[in-house]
């Protein structure tokens, strides 16, 4: 798949695009990270997180690759993380000669504040997981409405509602139900 196809697929939550993204850039990233500092498991972890960062940035419309390939972006993010971790451990870089295969300006990573899991967030995550495990329609509805940011028309079509208003009403019912469950647990 081309970079553009992958990006378009990522925006549409397409699994095939995510797989292609992961598989086609992995070897290169791991090879040069291992040359910088050999840590097979650690570097694989960095690579996975870098791909997730890329996916989230694309979906949140917070990243536009101008004259840069996905490979270069991932190389840059991975390289930066390896340097950060080496600095934390006071270890030297073994080799750092990548030509123009990375770009210093790409140092994206997870927003640490957003990483904090408050009790409320944890409970919401658990309740969502319960909904998902039970195969409840509410999970799909909430996910499409509040996470994938799909329009009500699109939701109505994909979930076979008669019209957008019905889809909207149903999604609000689901949200109420989730809220009720969450606050009940918070009271305990």
């Amino acid at each position: 798949m081309s970079d553009d196809d992958i990006i378009e697929g990522i925006k549409n939550f397409d699994d095939i695009a995510a797989r292609s993204l992961y598989n086609s850039h992995k070897d290169y990233c791991l090879r040069f990270m291992n040359k910088m500092y050999f840590d097979e498991e650690g570097n694989k972890d960095i690579y996975q997180d870098s791909v997730i960062v890329f996916i989230e940035k694309i979906r949140d419309r917070k990243l536009t690759l101008e004259n840069t390939s996905i490979q270069t972006y991932l190389n840059s993010v991975c390289r930066n993380q390896v340097l950060v971790r080496l600095k934390q451990k006071n270890k030297p870089v073994l080799i750092d000669d990548w030509g123009n295969k990375y770009n210093d300006k790409y140092t994206d990573w997870f927003d640490e504040q957003a990483e904090i899991k408050t009790d409320r967030i944890k409970i919401i995550m658990e309740e969502l997981q319960l909904m998902k495990d039970k195969g409840q329609v509410c999970y799909e509805l909430l996910r499409k409405a509040f996470f994938e940011n799909k329009t009500m028309e699109a939701i109505a079509t994909s979930m076979n509602y008669t019209n957008a208003d019905n889809a909207k009403n149903q999604s609000y019912r689901c949200r109420e139900r989730l809220k009720k469950q969450v606050f009940e647990r918070l009271k305990q």
């Binding site: 699994d15 995510a18 797989r19 992961y22 598989n23 694989k44 996975q48 997180d49 791909v51 997730i52 996916i55 989230e56 957003a114 899991k117 408050t118 409320r120 967030i121 919401i124 995550m125 969502l128 997981q129 909430l142 996910r143 409405a145 509040f146 996470f147 940011n149 208003d165 909207k168 009403n169 609000y172 949200r175 109420e176 989730l178 809220k179």
Partner: protein
């Protein structure tokens, strides 16, 4: 005054949840009766009011004698906050949102915050999900140590089953009556009987051939007669030879019996004569005869039948042994490296790399592999 009906409530809901102002205006202008449209701005003011929204809503429904619709209107109010919070979190603003933010409307602020948390919860769940999927992708393109171990285990299982099959087959053969007896007396009697049978058959058919109804005798029978006449003696001889094993090649050697205390050099060490019959070459010769590969051999049905019998007998002899007249006789397919061991009072054979029990029987017994622990014990003797 017309009471508020369910249809009116539905229209009111559509008004408040309309995505664009134009839709709201359309509903405003189309709602019937038209005085109900005057309720809408009043309700909006109550919903976006700074405080006492609930009290104001109760007063409102009382004023229009629509107390039965209070709950429905409260529902619309909640959905309205949800609707505006979605817009607010997406970065969209309108006068109602601005008012709610400015007046710090608790319901609206709480709803907006909850939606942010909901989005974050989805993000974090999704992240864990994606990481799991990446791990699965890695596993797909890799072979784990567990998979390698399992592959070895299954291969080992297959090999063990094959060994067990051999043992089972050997046990079945052991239980079946032997095809050939190796008692010389009986051997001589059998040879005489066969000779007599064949002579009789020849005599009867010889007589019959002189009769006028010879034409009614089938070709097979004619061939049988011919065989009987020409091959009678050679067939008997062949069978006798087989029974006497005179035609089978063999090798004979004196082997030292290896024991724990022995190193093989003392003059008074136990020795045993091993005679090994090599069956495969004979079996191959017979196969050639059956398939007609050998020239100038008779190819009648009877001959073929007897050849097959002979071949089967030889094959049944394979991997058997006995001990008579101080000779340990082995029947093997081909030449193999044979060693003899003794632990306590039990004898064992090592044929190439496999260990077998050796009970020194006078009658033919199949070679049965020993268990792993016994093999290990014997190995210790050698090493």
């Amino acid at each position: 005054m017309i009471k508020l009906t369910t249809e009116h409530i539905e229209e009111i809901r559509r008004y408040f949840l309309a995505d664009v102002e134009e839709d709201q205006l359309l509903i405003l202008n189309s709602i019937q009766p038209s005085y109900i449209s005057s309720f809408l701005p009043q309700l909006k003011k109550i919903f976006t009011g700074q405080e006492n929204a609930d009290t104001n809503l109760i007063s409102f429904v009382k004023s229009i004698s629509a107390e039965d619709q209070l709950e429905a209107l409260k529902e619309i109010q909640k959905d309205y906050y949800t609707h505006l919070a979605i817009k607010y979190n997406s970065g969209v603003s309108n006068p109602d949102i601005e008012t709610l933010v400015k007046t710090n409307n608790t319901h609206f602020i709480n709803e907006a915050n909850f939606q942010k948390e909901l989005k974050r919860a989805f993000h974090l769940n999704e992240r864990a999900d994606v990481k799991r999927k990446f791990q699965e992708l890695d596993n797909e393109s890799d072979i784990s140590p567990e998979e390698i171990t399992l592959a070895f285990k299954l291969e080992e299982r297959k090999q063990l089953k094959e060994i067990f099959k051999i043992i089972e087959n050997a046990t079945v053969l052991k239980q079946a009556s032997p095809v050939i007896q190796f008692n010389w007396k009986r051997l001589a009697i059998a040879a005489t009987l066969i000779g007599a049978m064949l002579t009789t058959i020849f005599y009867v058919f010889d007589k019959k051939t002189n009769q006028t109804d010879l034409a009614s005798v089938s070709n097979i029978e004619k061939q049988h007669i011919a065989d009987s006449i020409t091959n009678r003696n050679s067939k008997t001889k062949r069978l006798t030879d087989l029974l006497a094993n005179k035609a089978l090649p063999f090798e004979e050697e004196n082997k030292l019996v290896l024991k724990k205390a022995s190193l093989g050099f003392a003059a008074n060490e136990e020795k045993i004569t091993i005679r090994t019959y090599l069956l495969q070459s004979e079996i191959s010769k017979i196969d050639d005869e059956i398939s007609g590969d050998t020239l100038n051999k008779d190819r009648s049905e009877t001959t073929i039948r007897s050849l097959k019998l002979k071949r089967d007998s030889l094959m049944n002899l394979e991997n058997k042994y006995n001990f008579n007249n101080a000779i340990l006789t082995l029947y093997l397919s081909s030449k193999k490296n044979v060693k003899v061991f003794k632990i306590d009072t039990s004898y064992y054979l090592k044929v190439n790399n496999i260990f077998y029990e050796c009970k020194m029987p006078s009658k033919l017994l199949p070679l049965i592999p020993t268990g792993i622990s016994t093999s290990n014990k014997i190995e210790e003797l050698i090493f």
